[in-house]
């Protein structure tokens, strides 16, 4: 928890928030807004994720890059539903790392991985992915 008089930037606050598990109050808010605890950090609804799933039409063996994935929504969901592999990227990496742990705790065994990377300098070679999503990276 942050005290009121700590003078920190929003980026630092973002990092600190990601570094701690979601509180019960935050999980309740997420359930009330999205209808489920999905690891949402932005505004992408379950319905919008379904639209992405349809448009991307990914399949097993294909690779998806989720830029600015936060806690893994919707990248993990897209991989889970389509069978594709997903690489989650964000700065800091604590959020996608948490998403990977959550996916494994749910028994998901697909190709999930995470990397610490911002959008300006993506550490992957060209043509490494079949699709890219970025969802409310600036929110």
């Amino acid at each position: 928890m942050l005290s009121d008089n700590e003078d920190i930037s929003s980026a630092e606050r973002f990092a600190l928030n990601y570094a701690r598990p979601q509180s019960e109050a935050e999980l309740r808010v997420e359930r009330e807004v999205f209808g489920a605890c999905i690891g949402a950090d932005g505004y992408t609804t379950v319905e919008e994720a379904k639209v992405l799933l349809d448009r991307l039409a990914l399949g097993r063996g294909e690779r998806l890059l989720d830029l600015g994935s936060g806690r893994g929504w919707p990248g993990v969901h897209l991989a889970e539903e389509s069978g594709c592999d997903v690489v989650l990227t964000d700065v800091p990496v604590s959020a996608p790392r948490e998403a990977l742990l959550a996916a494994r705790n749910r028994g998901l065994t697909g190709g999930f991985s995470a990397a610490a990377a911002g959008g300006e300098a993506i550490p992957f070679k060209s043509q490494a992915f079949d699709a890219v999503v970025h969802s409310d990276v600036f929110c």
């Binding site: 942050l2 606050r13 509180s23 109050a25 808010v29 009330e32 807004v33 505004y43 639209v51």
Partner: protein, 107 residues
């Protein structure tokens, strides 16, 4: 993708930048930006109405759970987040902030 509405006056553009997320300010629409980076067959669907619903629901849900959120986030962060979301609603309602889904194919 959250973006500034097209063809705004200087005053409205400044207001949109002020109310929107800190990194949002491009005057090009999202489809144009994706085409500039090499995507083809770019399709853009406006989702501002859904975004307004989601953000309004967020504000109310956060008010209902204010006590717990203040403990988790801290008072300052709680108030900042609520103010930010209210600013987004103001921007959407004024027609100067929008959100859309953009899909394109690598070319």
């Amino acid at each position: 993708m959250i973006h500034v509405a097209p063809d705004l006056s200087s005053r409205d553009y400044s207001r949109a930048v002020e109310l929107g997320p800190s990194e949002v300010g491009a005057r090009e629409d999202p489809a144009q930006l994706h085409e500039l980076t090499g995507f083809a067959e770019v399709r853009q669907v406006d989702t501002t109405d859904q975004w307004l619903d989601t953000t309004s629901t967020f504000i109310k849900a956060r008010e209902r759970h204010e006590e717990g959120l203040r403990i988790a986030e801290g008072d300052e962060a709680y108030e900042e987040e609520q103010a930010k979301k209210r600013g987004l609603v103001e921007g959407m309602t004024a027609g100067i902030l929008r959100r859309c889904l953009v899909a394109g194919r690598a070319s």
